[in-house]
């Protein structure tokens, strides 16, 4: 039993922090935020590819580094801390992981090396409108290998090369890989709460679609994909929450009111402790999730702990990042409400990360369903 990063993993994480400190300071994030034409920072994306991060968890035979998922979690934590404006989650946590878990050998060979090389951006196209998407409401259709329908919103859909699309075929939901650079695809960039990440409407009109995973199991496959992504996203959220606490603490130690630093007032002290407590709960759940995720990639039938561990990691991390980002604004007072101070980058990203792979409410329901089963057994 060992409940922390190993020394090697810590080294990797420290290096990642240094790297992002140089390549992804707030100015880079703001470069994407302030420019409506930009959905991500291309130089950073290339640099990250060169670091090998895109293929960190991809097997060496597919051009990756062949590291474990815990190493990928360490990278995710640092990306979250830096609010990195790149389609890393869509590409690595979702497309690469989905293909590794559910793709055919041919799909693996076609997609994974391209991801590792930084030449393939991915996205997940499930949503068709506000609220829950139920099997009966699913309107995207595949017939004869051709996809028709509208997906909105699709995170990173405006810059991705390959989409995983949930659509029905023969009246049953399935997952499909679609080349977004091919014919029959129209994309439109949309405005969002977090302009440092791209969001699009994808309209398919006879686009070529190739099935990913078994037929008819689309919703289960989406859940399996999100289970994995949830753990990695939790580390991004944790990294962001930690940075919010740091920023708030630094400000509270430098700002004077009534002749004392505001960090000396219990209202501020205890607020920072509340953030700290949530962050530690998130960290511990995330670590367990990382272990379960990694274990699931090492076993034939995955790890039975993953659904519960992923849900707990995601719930704790979503809660922590939301709380940290909003209370960090509060500690910064009026300054925190300005565009020029970085608090809102985290506030926006916390919303993006909570919304992108199922809201906390859905994960709570999933978690309790699992507990119900487990306890009944």
């Amino acid at each position: 039993m060992d409940f922390d990063y190993s020394d090697d993993q810590k080294f990797l994480k420290d290096e990642a922090r240094k790297f992002l400190g140089g390549r992804c300071p707030p100015a880079v994030v703001r470069g994407v935020l302030d420019d409506p034409a930009k959905s991500y920072d291309e130089p950073l994306w290339k640099a990250v590819a060169e670091q090998g991060w895109l293929g960190a968890a991809i097997a060496e035979e597919h051009g990756g580094l062949g590291l474990g998922r815990v190493e990928l979690c360490a990278i995710a934590e640092e990306l979250g801390r830096a609010v990195a404006p790149i389609p890393f989650a869509s590409t690595v946590y979702i497309l690469a992981e989905a293909v590794m878990a559910h793709g055919s050998d041919a799909q693996k060979a076609a997609i994974l090396p391209a991801i590792a090389a930084g030449e393939r951006i991915g996205c997940l196209a499930v949503s068709e409108g506000p609220g829950a998407l139920t099997p009966s409401a699913l309107s995207a259709q595949v017939e004869g290998g051709k996809l028709t329908g509208v997906k909105i919103p699709v995170t990173d859909g405006d810059v991705a090369h390959t989409a995983i699309v949930l659509a029905s075929e023969n009246g049953k939901p399935g997952l499909f890989l679609v080349d977004l650079t091919g014919a029959g695809v129209t994309r439109e960039t949309l405005e969002s709460l977090d302009p440092t990440r791209g969001v699009a409407r994808l309209t398919f009109d006879g686009a070529a679609a190739e099935r990913l995973g078994p037929a008819g199991e689309g919703f289960d496959l989406v859940q399996a994909i999100l289970d994995r992504a949830a753990v990695l996203l939790a580390f991004e959220q944790l990294g962001g929450a930690d940075r919010c606490l740091e920023m708030a603490k630094e400000y509270a130690l430098g700002r004077y009111a009534f002749g004392r630093v505001i960090g000396g007032y219990q209202a501020i002290k205890h607020k920072l402790v509340d953030i700290y407590v949530k962050n530690e709960v998130a960290r511990s759940n995330a670590y367990y999730g990382a272990w379960a995720l990694n274990a699931s990639t090492l076993k034939e039938n995955g790890a039975p702990e993953l659904p519960t561990a992923a849900a707990a990691a995601r719930i704790a991390a979503s809660d922590a990042f939301w709380f940290a980002s909003k209370e960090s604004v509060q500690v910064h007072g009026g300054m925190g409400f300005t565009w020029e101070v970085d608090c809102h980058l985290y506030y926006r990203r916390s919303r993006q990360l909570s919304l992108v792979a199922g809201s906390p409410r859905l994960w709570k329901e999933r978690l309790v369903s699992e507990l119900e089963k487990k306890n009944a057994a």
Partner: protein, 406 residues
């Protein structure tokens, strides 16, 4: 306890409603519905205010002789309710008529009052309040804007921040430091100033919400006459407290979507099993928001009753912003998360016209503006509950000697 109108209140309400119906129609015919933050919007607002003043519906509780309505606090509540239903309301005058002009009325000489009160009531001139500074924040009295006496004039230099409406205001009340050797609260003096003076520069602040509703205001050798002074030299803090007390009494409406709007959203939104409105967890939240909103509304009414009875209302109304700002943030976030991934959208496609997304980005400011949650709790603790103040290291120390970390 009677939450119904008395016969005379009912009569007032009928009269107000009838007037509003006609006046709002005439007003809309003339001005249409201009976009906020445009000159046309401002023109419409001024016209509406003038129309209200003519009919005795502007500043209802003020005496008729200064242009007010000569009415009761309850009449003011009644008119506010009906005006809300009539769908015509503008926010440009709230600070001037709620805070600045009452301060002018309390401290200015007769000529000054004559000059300013009536035009303000009629909406001809707009006022702003210049207290907050970058170094001040929650600690308003830590301000550094200097006013130095030069013959019969004062020369003012410094910077204010978070000034609502500075860019469209004609006049402002300005709190300055006139003595840096006195303890912090004792070296302050209040003036009224002309915002159009060339020595006054407004720069809008870019907020995290994207908008620019507040300003930085810079003073570079602004010269004002000693007759523009409000209250005695060195008594500025006492004058400011009157302004801030009026701020508490300025009854504010809600600042964004409330339980009703989120109920409608949930009714329309698909959940996993029927409409999202069916979810018990959401329903409990909805109940809590309703109860808190009603609680605040009736608490404001209780304040009005105290005023009507000639009593000084307590600062119960300070509980308003603590609750409503936090509730707005929670409600908006719940509404956005309820939409799932779609909740991220803020453009033309956004559900409910992106009202919840906008509130989500605005609520953090509401928790800070006009006193942070923490400062308001201190105020209630000390003034309502009679608990001791914080240990103060900045009392009885010359202002220039107070630690600031710089």
């Amino acid at each position: 306890m009677d939450f119904n109108d008395s016969p005379s209140e009912a009569a007032y309400r009928d009269k107000a409603r009838a007037w509003l119906q006609e006046a709002a129609a005439a007003h809309k015919a003339q001005h249409g519905e201009p976009k906020p933050n445009t000159p046309e919007h401002m023109a419409a607002a001024k016209a509406w205010q003038a129309r209200k003043a003519d009919a005795g519906y502007a500043c209802i509780t003020w005496p008729a002789v200064v242009g007010g309505g000569g009415g009761t606090p309850i009449e003011s509540v009644i008119f506010g309710q009906e005006e809300g239903k009539a769908g015509v309301a503008y926010g440009y005058f709230t600070i001037g008529l709620g805070m600045c002009v009452p301060t002018v009325m309390a401290f200015a000489n007769t000529d000054t009052k004559k000059r300013f009160v009536s035009p303000a009531v009629k909406g001809e001139e707009i006022w702003c309040q210049l207290f907050s500074e970058p170094a001040g924040g929650s600690d308003v009295a830590a301000l550094r804007t200097r006013a130095v006496k030069d013959g019969d004039e004062w020369v003012i230099n410094g910077q204010k921040v978070w000034t609502t409406g500075a860019h469209y205001s004609d006049f402002g009340i300005l709190l300055t430091r006139t003595d840096v050797d006195a303890p912090k609260h004792k070296g302050l003096t209040m003036f009224w100033i002309d915002m159009r003076d060339a020595a006054v520069e407004c720069r809008p602040i870019h907020q995290m919400s994207g908008g620019r509703d507040f300003n930085e205001v810079y003073f570079s050798d602004l010269r004002v006459k000693d007759s523009q002074r409000l209250g005695e030299v060195g008594q500025g803090w006492q004058v400011a407290l009157v302004t801030l007390m009026n701020e508490r009494l300025a009854v504010g409406g809600s600042a964004g979507p409330n339980y009703r709007e989120v109920l409608e959203l949930a009714r329309a939104l698909p959940g996993e099993d029927g409409p999202a409105l069916k979810n018990d967890a959401f329903r409990e939240k909805l109940a809590d928001w309703f109860v808190a909103s009603q609680g605040l509304k009736f608490t404001r009414f209780r304040t009005m009753t105290a005023l009507s009875r000639g009593q000084t209302p307590g600062p119960e109304s300070s509980i308003g912003k603590i609750i409503s700002a936090n509730q707005l943030q929670d409600l908006a976030n719940t509404a956005v998360e309820m939409q799932g991934e779609y909740g991220i959208l803020t453009g033309a496609e956004a559900a409910a016209g992106a009202a919840f997304q906008q509130s989500l980005m605005w609520a953090p400011g509401l928790r800070i503006a006009g006193g942070t949650d923490e400062i308001l709790k201190n105020i209630i603790a000390e003034r309502v509950l009679g608990l001791p103040g914080d240990v103060r290291v900045d009392k009885d120390v010359a202002f220039k000697d107070i630690p600031t970390g710089r």
